[in-house]
Amino acid sequence: MNGCEPNSHIVESQFYSGGYTTPEARKIFCDRYRYQRWLDVEAALALAQADLGIIPAWAAKNINEKAHLCYINLDAVKEGLKVSSHSLLPLLGALQQACDDGAGQFIHFGATTQDIQDTAQSLEIRDVLTIVTRDLSSITQQVMQLAERCMDLVTIGRTHCQYALPMTLGLKMAVWLDELWRNMERLAALRERVLVSQLFGGVGTMDAFAEKGFALLDKFSQRLGLAPPLTAWHASRDRIAEFLSTMALISGTLAKIADEIRCLARDETGELEEPFQMGKVGSSTMPHKRNPEMCEQAVVLARLIKANAGLGFEGMINEHERDYRAVRMEWVTVTDTSLFVCGLLSMMKAILKDLIIHEHRIRQNVDQAATLISTEALMFFLGEVIGKQTAHRIIYETAMKAKETNQSLLDLLMVRKEIAGKFKREDLEKTIDPANHVGMSQELTRRTIDHVKEKLSTTGTITERERLCPLTEKDGRCNVQ
């Protein structure tokens, strides 16, 4: 462990990786697994071509058998990459070496490099989306339970970071829930559009497959569980841009929730707090500190993910039929975004699982703020008699004076001649009780929960595919079905 294995990217750090991603996500992008996927795609191609009589069945069978990293001389691949500067050929050369009786001659028959790599990338994205859907669905459930639990808990609504009006904490969470659900819908739509194969040859004409091209595309796609696209998308990267921006939207939602928790965790507010257990240390020099570091890290990850969305849009600008200036960016953006988004989701699950809700602080803050945050109700109550605009003016003047002189708003109001003769103090008191002014908070929360619950119940869960790195499996095999 003290030797120097070069692992300089933070996601590879033996110590800090956990703040940025999860082992599960790293496995998807492990470079050996990536090669295995390319081999899987080549095997699927050979099998599909044998079905259609494009290549001999014995050759396809042999290619499928040997298309496993355990048969591949990776040192030779490494050497080959240095010499050829080609991202796929050395691997294909090694596969050919591994095949018997000339079967290797039928590898990669008529495909272009990008066919293989794009198809494999779709498989990667599918694995990522499986994790994202699973975790986002758990988070949606968690927030639904929290909203249910806090349905009636009166709290202060804030605008411009200032006390605004009373509301319930459940409603705040219902707004999160609604946003989370929209992200679930986006994910479903994204899967439909993005999870497609690629098999169109050098410039997208299927030239090398001739009249069997369409049947081949269907069989090949079917074997990999991907949808066949209408045309080549070698130079048409909106799917990837959509993936990156959808991940940015999801992260945006999660970061907003995390940041709200962080804000409400301030000492002066103290209403929510991310989970804490003894042993978690806030500061190396201030022993009392208890910091919302997970929430902060969630914002960090969301920012990184958002930056990649910008690159995704840039990657849409391709020249002619293929353009590696665009495509090679994806090796970084798709990888980083996926790693970070999985890290972010796992962090949010942990935050929400044991979110601390300081109910008594919430009550205390509400009680103390009662006169200020219910001025709207007071305005309408007084307005019935003296007119709403007049009431706005009188309360505005009195509230500003109350703030500046630190006196009670009601005390000051009751000495004003426009008020004193016309109203009783206890009516004013009743009017400003925050619990009477949460509007439709509970109903809105209920409706949102019901809506999402119903939608969730009709959404099928995605069966989780085996996602172990093939090298860790006993026989080193990962069979294409």
Binding site: R262, T269, M286, A369
Partner: protein, 465 residues
Amino acid sequence: MPAHPIDFEINPAVFSTVELTQIFDEKARYQRWLDFEAALARVQGEMGVIPQEAAEEIGRKAKLELLDLESVHEGYLHSRNSLMPLLGGLRRACGKGYGEYVHYGATTQDVIDTAEILELRATVTILYRDLRVLETICLKLAGNHRTTPMAARTHGQQALPTTLGLKVVIWLGEIRRHIERLKHIFPRIAVGQLSGAVGTMAALGPQAMKIAKGTLNLLGLEYSSVAWHNSRDNIGELASIFSLLVTTLAKIANEIFQLQKTEIGELMEPVPAGSVASSTMPHKKNPVICQRVVALSRHVRSLTGTIMESMAHEHERDGRCLWSEWLAVPQLCIYTGTALQYMVDVTSGLEVRADRMLTNLHLQKNLITSEWLLFRLSGTIGKMRSLEKLHELSNTAMDAGTSFKEAVMDDPEIGSLLGREEMACLDQPERYLGHAVQIVEQAIEDIERKRELDPKTLGETDERL
């Protein structure tokens, strides 16, 4: 028919200032283009490249009010060139066929780039002026509050005591660095453009370099013999400086926004009498201007991204890059200058609630100086052991809502190490200020010394403004 908030008439100057919009006013810009043509003609006349009479006539007629703007407008409806219709107007305004000598050997981009530099120079002049005003205000604020104690916060949580003065001199450090950045870049950007269609000066004739130098000097600009038509790093650099500058402003605005939160209430953005914060909540006092500054800064940053991208030119000129830059520059300048003006307003009337600062500091008075205790104990039981011990005691106290001090006093391991009298320090966090006051005083002195080396103004303000 103003469709952009920069130009709104009923609710003007929300995202712009009059002074800045005047720089980029359409007619002011065309006049600048005409000024360029007049300067070029004058130099070419003096050097005998075009007839002296032609140069004089062009100089006389190169005034927007002398052109038939209806026909120029008509021309723009049909032409896709940004300059030709205007030059047509100038040509028609000139008598005796002298108009034929207009724009003799220059390219469109020479004119527009040079005018853009004049616009950027005017903007930088304003930014420099206002930054120095902001610096003066913050110097005073820091001086007045060098000893005003308040809670410093990290991770949004109270950390240790500090003074408002220290917070402000940190702002001042950034402001000063921006002033130095502007001083540094000002001479570098004051370079005009006159190199002909692909930078070879082919059409300007044998005296090309002299013509270019003379023309640009007349406009108060320097001349560089290598064209920068496709070399926009100066603009990119200036845009990034604007981003840096405006992000400092946003950071200050955000700090005020945060500290104005109802629960904290330590700083307040000034509210002009009669300004109403909410249409339905009469009690509200909102940090509106600070929020606007943050919003402006976001736009500036994304405009900077656009301008940086526009550095990737193809070949000698590349309209895809130029137009994205030309479209971004006015907004970039207006938003940056507006944010700065806003922060001058906010800081000059900033309301400081020293009493709230003290109250908040005492919110967890025993806890906020736990570091003092840590170092007090380190000598006896070691720093790591003290950290562990105090972490445990402070969290237990925080959870139980009991006194941290009492917990320390009652602890069998460390309770006897400190006297009750000494422990009283925990009750007065405002005394645990480290070297805050000294840092503030030194920083103020340092900045004031640097101010003496500043020129009063970076450039002349455009006389047409």
